[in-house]
Symmetry: C2
């Protein structure tokens, strides 16, 4: 069984390493060798153990009939989309770790795969090494999935965990995470929640069978979270986690990405550092959770190679995932109901005028009051908070 | 697609309920109806919604060519084995929730399935609703599995959680668990660890590809755990959990079922009540964990129905799991290395004579001392503990 890797960066070279390290057990599982024939990259890698495999023109891979499995680990939508499309059209099955590509073009690529009798899979695109995609599409198939709550971005979870542990402020921790390579130079995609948003869009597409446009999901990152917010959280026995949520509402889902106050009774509370976890509630199964390394070269490559084994076991057989191109109209996010933690410079009497009986979270800070509202809709909260004024920060309760 | 259920007890009737409740989504996933044609049970169920399906002779199912999928939820090795064997020989694929059957006859049934071009699967036999079997056999296929640590018995985890929370003693909690239906009248299989032992034997067979005899696994239950042990645990910042372990040693695995002292830094610490979790370490993936309801009619039935969907998607196609009948010789458990928590009536000077520098866990109890040894092998510990004498209890550190 011959394979090719497109993109020899962190994940792509990780895939080569997993194939090398675990060659014997993979061969035993498949009954044949899974052999790397090509690596596509514009750069040169002199001295690399796979030096002979490198090519600079993707058409060389597309035209080689021996290659049955192609790995896409380039990242970004283009040229990844063009390359993947051509591989599928050439009758090769593809696995990708590229969440931007899957969130943007997943249904389209699946349709192309379908037309050409091959498979397009993407276990590594969500949750890194956590096998959440196959869990949803091939395991929890007797259930209606009622809710998904995911800590699915390692950078922000690392940052929040450290802010909590060391009382540091956001900018301090961001600089540290960048120095350690846990955050990128331009951290926007992670810290503003865009990465988590794409991932929950993919998961929601998979459980609904239709396509969720990630632009429809209200998304808030962690860049406004301060050490003071964490002091309040501690006072209330909570942690703050960036959670990507999708909750079934009638025939559709209601989605949001935002920082949440979360209690130790919830398993997600205990997910620390760069680890990720996806909690899935089924109408028969109840709660379940899938936990592991959400990023990193080898854990992500482990998921890609798991996909390669899956593709090798399913050559000449199409495995339907049931994700259609038709757009899913999400439920109105303003109808989501939460309890809201609020910091405001407004007077206590005004707080009670607007929100009635609230729970105060007292830190004895000058010039501000922290409180938790009763459960209400987003729309109602927005209205009352605007009337109250002086809002410093708002964090929903999970 | 026609199916049959053998055994209409808690799980079997749960399977019927899942099929009824989620009929539409299952049909959408399969592209055809998954229809229950027979239910085998010696009892009568007048007024049951599936009243027309009941049969008392399993041969009626075996001989009906329309039936392609059979569910075995009778429990026990016989007559389940005879019935399942005949179904496979009649060309029907089978899923079972019966860990006793799988631990005892798994490889043999898989071989029979193989010979007759059908599939034999058993997702619900370990971890109830947690999809751990398919995770190991179809997801983490790029990894060498280096370690599995499982809280895989809901009864004992419920009991331990309550002993911890309320300071109750073992017998008190057992009576309560029995009254609530969380423990059976004869609780031996759960509380003495036999159930966990069979489950870790199955998981170790799956990751090694050979057959583990559960009789080879040293197994200790929770019946000797007292409220005093939990007081020591609290003093040391630990919880006590019944963990079923399997650790790769060279070409084989080293297994044990026992109560362990476990710290909050471990995710397993946070698995409370009747919930189960399986932690899996891969050589590329690192740590991952799968958490959910390990028992209960609907969660377990959810896994069975997931298997039915899998079988329906794979009629006329054999999915190899790679579990051979050949016996796996486990590593010598006396070579396992742990730190041991020990309570003894021996004098402190004798403790230090035998164990050198130890950490004391002081509860200021008359007539006993608690301490934690340095890491050492089981063999070495046994020798030193015998020399010390006066041992009240021993709990390994995870």
């Amino acid at each position: 069984m011959k394979a090719a890797i497109m993109g020899y960066g962190t994940i792509g070279s990780g895939v080569a390493k997993v194939l090398d390290t675990n060659r014997d057990i993979i061969k035993a599982r498949l009954g044949e060798e899974l052999e790397l024939k090509y690596i596509l990259d514009l750069r040169d890698f002199p001295g690399d153990p796979h030096e002979d495999c490198f090519v600079k023109d993707y058409k060389k891979i597309a035209q080689d009939e021996e290659v049955q499995i192609v790995v896409e680990t380039m990242g970004g939508v283009e040229p990844a989309f063009t390359f993947v499309k051509e591989m599928l059209e050439a009758g090769k099955s593809v696995t990708t770790s590229n969440k931007a590509l899957v969130a943007d073009k997943g249904a389209e690529l699946m349709e192309i795969a379908d037309k050409h009798g091959v498979n397009f899979v993407f276990e590594a695109a969500v949750g890194g090494g956590i096998p959440i995609i196959r869990t949803l599409t091939a395991c929890l198939t007797g259930d209606v999935i009622e809710e998904i709550d995911a800590i699915c971005n390692g950078t922000t979870n690392y940052m929040l965990t450290n802010m909590e542990q060391f009382g540091s402020d956001y900018n301090e921790i961001l600089a540290e995470a960048q120095a350690l390579g846990y955050a990128e130079k331009d951290p926007t995609a992670d810290v503003e929640g865009h990465d988590s948003c794409r991932k929950i869009a993919i998961l929601t597409s998979l459980i609904s069978g239709k396509t969720v446009d990630f632009n429809d999901i209200p998304t808030e990152g962690i860049s406004k979270i301060s050490s003071t917010d964490f002091k309040y959280a501690k006072e209330m026995g909570c942690s703050i986690k960036l959670v990507a949520r999708s909750v079934k509402e009638g025939d559709t889902y209601s989605c949001r990405v935002a920082p949440f106050m979360i209690k130790p009774e919830q398993m997600l509370y205990h997910v620390a550092g760069v680890m990720n976890a996806v909690s899935v509630k089924g109408n028969m199964l109840g709660e379940s959770m899938y936990y592991g390394a959400g990023a990193g070269a080898l854990p992500t490559a482990s998921a890609v190679v798991g996909d390669m084994v899956f593709l090798a076991r399913n050559t000449n057989r199409q495995v339907k995932i049931g994700w259609e191109a038709e757009k899913l109209t999400l439920a109105n996010p303003l109808e989501q109901r939460y309890r809201f933690f609020v910091r405001t410079s407004a007077l206590q009497s005004n707080i009670e005028n607007e929100f009635g009986n609230v729970e105060y979270a007292s830190l004895d800070l000058d010039n501000e009051t922290g409180f938790v509202t009763a459960e209400m809709s987003e729309a109602e909260f927005e209205e009352r908070a605007a009337a109250l004024g002086g809002i410093i920060s708002v964090i929903r309760f999970y």
